[in-house]
Amino acid sequence: MIFKVFKKQELARLHELLAVNIVVGPVVKGKDRNGKPLYDFDVVYDFNELALDYTQTVHSPKRFVLPYHETLSTFAVSRDGWEKHVDLNVYRPLVFFGMHACDINALNKLDLVLAQSTYPNPYYMGKRKNLFIIGIDCNPEPQCFCRSMGTDSAIHGFDLFLTDLGDGYFAEILSATAFDLLNQISCKDPSAKDLALYKQATNGKNKHYTAKVETSDLTKILDLEFESPAWDAWGEKCLSCGTCANVCPTCYCYGVEEHVDLDLTHASKTKSLHSCNLIDFAKVAGGHNFRPTSASRLKYRYYHKHRGFVEAFEESLCVGCGRCGAACLADITPPEVIASVRGKE
């Protein structure tokens, strides 16, 4: 891996170089009831809009690779039959300026199931492969349990990763394009002092992790506690609204619908992201619902994230960003749910 350091004012120059492409980054969208800024990812036209010291965005960067609604195909329908047209809905590369390690890891996890498994999904791959990602280090929020999930640092899945050293940035370079870019700004190889600052920044961050999830033997515990009354208690609280899946950086479940145009000559097939907490998730034609209770659906969500995905891909689907807990209207957080299932209230 190649490391470089550059002065803070050079970052604007880096943005300027990349601005010939579409740049997406964290921006302030408003204020919450306590007056704290609310951040989200959006297209950035001016470097000053970028809020690189953001805490956490409300939504994950998922929508740029998995749009909430997406047209999969369109049909030209006539009396003699139909013709299908497929459009991947991706036309140009996208620069992500300032993504935290958890979100980078979330994309890596989505790659496992959507790009590297049987039937790779071209709609996802087309968008994912055309991302240029600049990661940035973060200060853990109270809800972050990424350390427990092993996703507090990103090893791959980005082009450039920046760590704030006070007056400059420590850059980790993973792609030739990123290396070429850094050559166009004023940067130098890290000195012993830079290295010391880098280590100091990393160590300082460690103190801030407060939320924890005990993951040892979690797959087995979840299996053994399948009938645990804890699930019913959480099910009682859960509103089955699907907000958790909405903000989750790794929830990828969807439903497909088809529509006919009013003139009956065209039709379209659209995909919308769904949530396993919604009541109709596993309901089949004829009315049978395989998960009729909110407890069974909430349980399934934890099973998929912390057991099923581990079984299939050797790692959990959860990155510990804590967005689901922060957004939950019923204050259900993964650390609490898992602790209660483990019998540690």
């Binding site: 791959m125 497909v256 088809e258 034609a285 399934y300 995905f309």
Partner: protein
């Protein structure tokens, strides 16, 4: 403009060449035509569907137990078990009950309609392993539909298999499917046992649960341990009782197969709607051996 990033076209020339699965095939539907429709009962119809392009039709191959996604452009797409023999390739037969939005629309469709077929998807019954062995085919209600494909495959090579028993239960005699084929099946030395929950005036056959039929069959042989395979398909409650009886009769778990039903939106292990815990019914199923099912929470 030197920093304009290079656009990568994932479906471009050579992009998928090194992949086991070509991403271009993800949303590819084979144009097909409904060539004939038979009304089997009040709510079920048998649709004969032919892939239009002769080359695609011959290249289409599936194994008994697999399913296809049937698409009516603009109306929807849904998964259906294939009921025809694998020898007939892209000349498919799908038995469909009008029960939801898609199937109720399909029930109004006439012969000659252009539909789309994607697939085949999923796992299949291991008929090659079953050669030389006795086979129990146990179906309840619509469960007979996925059993018809392995049955037809067995009939075509009848001498390769031992004793074959079909046990089929329906709610009423009017709901029995494929009645016109029972005589033909019997001619092929198949023991066909049929039972209904509620008889009507014309019904001369058995009344009662399918487990009664199974009990009699089990009593005829000393043990099912050595040379028997079973395929079970039906409503969840039937799985419980039938699989339990078969296990008690000595049938090893890995020789008992079930075909499960779940909601599916993609058939390709992407939409998660058919997940049972970690398992995709569309990729790892719909055919599971009983051991795998026992290991899955909330499967049956």
């Amino acid at each position: 403009m030197q920093n304009k990033l290079h656009f990568i076209d994932v479906l471009g020339k050579g992009a998928g060449a090194h992949r086991k699965q070509d991403p271009g095939s993800f949303e590819y539907t084979l144009p097909a035509e409904i060539t004939s429709i038979y009304q089997l009962t009040a709510s079920e119809k048998l649709y004969q569907i032919q892939i239009i392009d002769p080359e695609q039709r011959n290249r289409f191959s599936f194994k008994p137990g697999q399913f296809v996604m049937l698409e009516l452009p603009g109306i929807g797409e849904a998964p259906f078990s294939i009921s025809s023999s694998p020898v007939r390739r892209g000349d498919l037969e799908l038995c469909i009950r009008a029960v939801g939005n898609f199937t109720n629309f399909l029930a109004k469709v006439e012969r000659g309609a252009r539909v789309g077929i994607t697939g085949p998807f999923g796992t299949h019954f291991p008929l090659e392993k079953m050669q030389g062995q006795d086979i129990l085919l146990i179906g309840g209600g619509l469960g007979i539909v996925p059993l018809r494909s392995p049955l037809l495959a067995v009939l075509e090579n009848r001498s390769r298999y031992g004793r074959v028993d079909i046990m089929y239960g329906a709610k009423t005699p009017t709901e029995l499917l494929f009645t016109y084929q029972y005589e033909e099946w019997r001619r092929f030395d198949i023991n066909l046992g049929i039972t209904v929950d509620k008889a009507d005036k014309s019904w001369k056959g058995r009344t009662g649960l399918i487990t009664e039929l199974l009990k009699e069959r089990i009593a005829q042989t000393a043990s099912l341990r050595e040379n028997t395979y079973a395929i079970v398909c039906g409503p969840p409650v039937m799985f419980h009782f039938v699989c339990k009886m078969l296990t008690e009769a000595g049938l090893p778990m890995q020789k008992m197969f079930v075909s499960l039903e779940r909601r599916m939106h993609c058939g390709r292990g992407k939409c998660c709607r058919c997940n049972i815990g970690s398992t995709y019914t569309c990729l790892d199923g719909p055919v599971f051996d009983y051991w795998s099912v026992m290991n899955l929470k909330e499967a049956i």
